[in-house]
């Protein structure tokens, strides 16, 4: 297999470019998109690369069509991705719910910009954290990853595909305009060194018959692919294990939705990922995700130099959220600070986790600039 970019070496590329290359190395062979700042470079890279690896890159008529096309492609057996920003992500919400309900592995990238509405197209923000978790209607569960460097944008994209395939679920990769356009050193591994997980296909009679069942007790049914004789009927309506619509039976709805919750929440340990920095003896903790974490690390270093025992918990997964871990942290530290580029979203999750065991303070910033380390450090010093 020939790749249209160098592998097994360092490169100096934008976050958007890194996401596209990672997707291809993860096995993505279908991309559908619609132009939008600041995510367009992902599409442009895919448009350049996909035909060369015998994959598909297609410009749809809007973002609704883009996510629809990747869901269709996934059922036809392809690993599929789309990328967008706020306005397009809002348009995708209905079909994101469809992917949750039909348990379709897809990766949706949202490079956040200032909102609401058209807002600040070229500037970074973190105003879509709650939308990425709860944007579509109804009870639902999915996975949200959030990178803070170009290397993480690359690594987490591969992880997003692997989690999508493993858990038969949509995964949202939540970046921002800063990571999208920032160029940074990134190691592009040799294809043989990339861990790639592929979905399980039904093999046994029971797996074959129950594409929406729970044949292994882990909540994750193997996924039939169109055109291989499975004769699967897929619907966004509430359905039984076979896939037949059952729209008024309370117990069937409850069983389905609880299984979809359970297959993610029951594997939190595998899915949730984070990094600790100077947290062992910390007196105050900072909890952050995405680009702001980089300011936070610097802030911790500055605070330590001043003798303040500060530490950082940097979240790689935004959802599912480890409330217990935050509670344990809250028991160890005096205070938790949550810097984020919005007026308070992650903050509410942290506060719920802390459960009153430590004070939680939001350090909000909007307008299009990442917090400076000083802005965070000053807040902590008080």
């Amino acid at each position: 297999m020939r790749y249209p970019f160098p592998t097994g070496k360092n490169d100096f590329i934008q976050g958007n470019e890194a996401i596209a290359r990672a997707a291809i190395l993860a096995g993505c062979r279908f991309y559908a998109g619609y132009p939008i700042t600041p995510a367009s470079e992902i599409f442009e890279a895919m448009a350049l690369y996909m035909p060369l690896v015998d994959g598909v890159s297609i410009q749809m008529e809007d973002e609704i069509g883009s996510i629809a096309a990747i869901i269709g492609a996934s059922w036809a057996g392809a690993k599929a991705m789309t990328a967008t920003s706020g306005p397009g992500f809002s348009l995708m919400q209905e079909n994101l719910g469809y992917a949750v309900m039909t348990e379709t592995p897809i990766v949706v990238v949202n490079m956040m910009r200032g909102g609401p509405s058209t807002g600040q197209p070229t500037l970074p923000a973190q105003g879509d954290i709650m939308q990425s978790i709860w944007g579509t209607h109804g009870d639902h569960m999915l996975i949200v990853l959030s990178p803070s460097t170009v290397q993480e944008a690359f690594d987490f994209t591969i992880r997003a595909f692997n989690l999508a395939e493993k858990y038969r679920t949509p995964v949202v990769l939540l970046g921002d305009a800063e990571i999208a356009h920032m160029r940074e050193r990134v190691y592009i591994p040799h294809p043989d060194d990339v861990e790639v997980i592929n979905r399980k296909l039904p093999e046994s009679e029971e797996e074959h018959k129950l594409p929406f069942g729970d044949p292994h007790g882990d909540g994750i049914p193997p996924m039939p692919i169109f055109g291989r004789g499975y004769r699967t009927y897929v619907t966004g309506l509430t359905h039984d294990e076979i896939g037949h619509p059952k729209t008024v039976e309370a117990e069937i709805h409850e069983r389905l939705i609880k299984r979809i919750y359970g297959k993610i929440l029951g594997h939190r340990e595998d899915i949730i990922s984070y990094e600790e920095f100077e947290l062992e003896d910390a007196d105050v903790a900072i909890v952050s995700t995405g680009i702001v974490s980089r300011s936070a690390i610097r802030a911790v270093k500055m605070l330590r130099e001043k003798g303040v025992k500060a530490g950082l918990l940097k979240l790689h997964t935004v959802w599912p959220f480890d409330f217990d871990m935050i509670e344990e942290l809250a028991e160890r530290v005096r205070k938790i600070y949550v810097p984020e580029m919005n007026l308070g979203q992650l903050y509410h999750l942290v506060k719920e986790g802390a459960d009153g065991k430590a004070e939680v303070e939001l350090i909000p910033k909007i307008g299009g600039e990442v917090h400076t380390p000083m802005e965070i450090a000053e807040k902590v010093v008080g």
Binding site: I64, I71, G227, Y230, H244
Partner: protein, 281 residues
């Protein structure tokens, strides 16, 4: 034409455990479905190579009743999903079962762009002039003066001619019949299934419960007689002045051409890309 019994068709292609259908007495969807299955049967197509796709509405429930792979999607989006399926696996034949509101209102943009791309798909369009599932609201196809719950004093907007739209946007094959014209209907579906690119067979299809009842046509026979009155065959329509065609619906085969389909175009594009990169001669 040799006709298998409806029982044989039903035995061979329907998911018996899903029956009875949700369709009301007198509904025309079952007829259009039967024509489609007969066309597939006549052509000897392999069901494992066919995927049925639909959006939302009564007609969109069809993929649930047939024993094929099927994707019952969101309102209006069937053709966008179909685009992904077909491009990801060009060996699959896609049949989209769609309603008039699904196609021309909420899904209008996907519809015209699927045609512009010449997506390789066969659309079976059930046009009952109304939103049947939600209880008889007017649709973009509702003819002027006809009643629906959201225009209780009679439709005041102009109707869309969906088949005409498909011709203008570049479809390879477009035909319209009423479900009454069963031989023409089956033949058109057979033609459509054998062509590359975008093909559409539209059926005027009775909805006595949600549409007929509000328009003094309580039964399917009344609706079929009404179709007889309002439909004009294409050759005849060509000779009629526009004033006389006001309020009529033209039926027939509107276009039959062989422009390259999306799959063919994309395969060429892959070759062009590899050539541009010097990967291939």
């Amino acid at each position: 034409m040799y006709f298998k019994s409806a029982y044989d068709i039903r035995e061979k292609y329907l998911r018996k455990e899903m029956l009875p259908t949700i369709f009301c007495p007198g509904c025309g969807i079952g007829s259009a479905l039967q024509y489609t299955l007969r066309a597939i049967d006549d052509l000897g197509m392999n069901p494992d190579e066919i995927v049925w796709v639909s959006g939302i509405g009564c007609s969109s429930r069809v993929p649930g009743y047939v024993n094929f792979d099927g994707l019952h999607t969101t309102h209006g989006r069937a053709l966008a999903f179909a685009t992904g399926i077909k491009l990801a696996n060009p060996d699959l034949k896609i049949i989209a079962f769609m309603g008039d509101g699904d196609t021309s209102a909420i899904g209008g943009n996907h519809f015209i762009h699927a045609i512009r791309r010449n997506l390789d798909v066969t659309v079976i369009l059930i046009n009952n002039f109304t939103y049947g599932m939600t209880g008889g609201q007017v649709a973009p196809t509702t003819l002027r003066g006809l009643k629906g719950t959201t225009a209780p004093y009679g439709q005041f907007e102009n109707p869309f001619d969906i088949a005409g739209l498909a011709v203008a946007a570049g479809a390879n094959y477009v035909a319209r019949w009423s479900v009454f014209n069963y031989i023409q209907g089956i033949n058109s579906i057979k033609k459509a299934l054998q062509k590359e690119g975008f093909t559409l067979v539209e059926f005027l299809s009775p909805c006595p419960v949600s549409f007929g009842r509000r328009n003094r046509m309580k039964t399917a026979p009344e609706l079929l007689r009404w179709y007889q009155r309002i439909t004009v065959p294409l050759n005849k329509a060509k000779k009629m002045p526009p004033e006389e065609l006001e309020g009529k619906v033209v039926i027939g085969e509107f276009v039959d051409r062989d422009r390259p389909g999306l799959i063919k175009a994309y395969r060429e594009y892959i070759k062009r890309a590899k050539k541009a990169m010097g990967w291939e001669e």
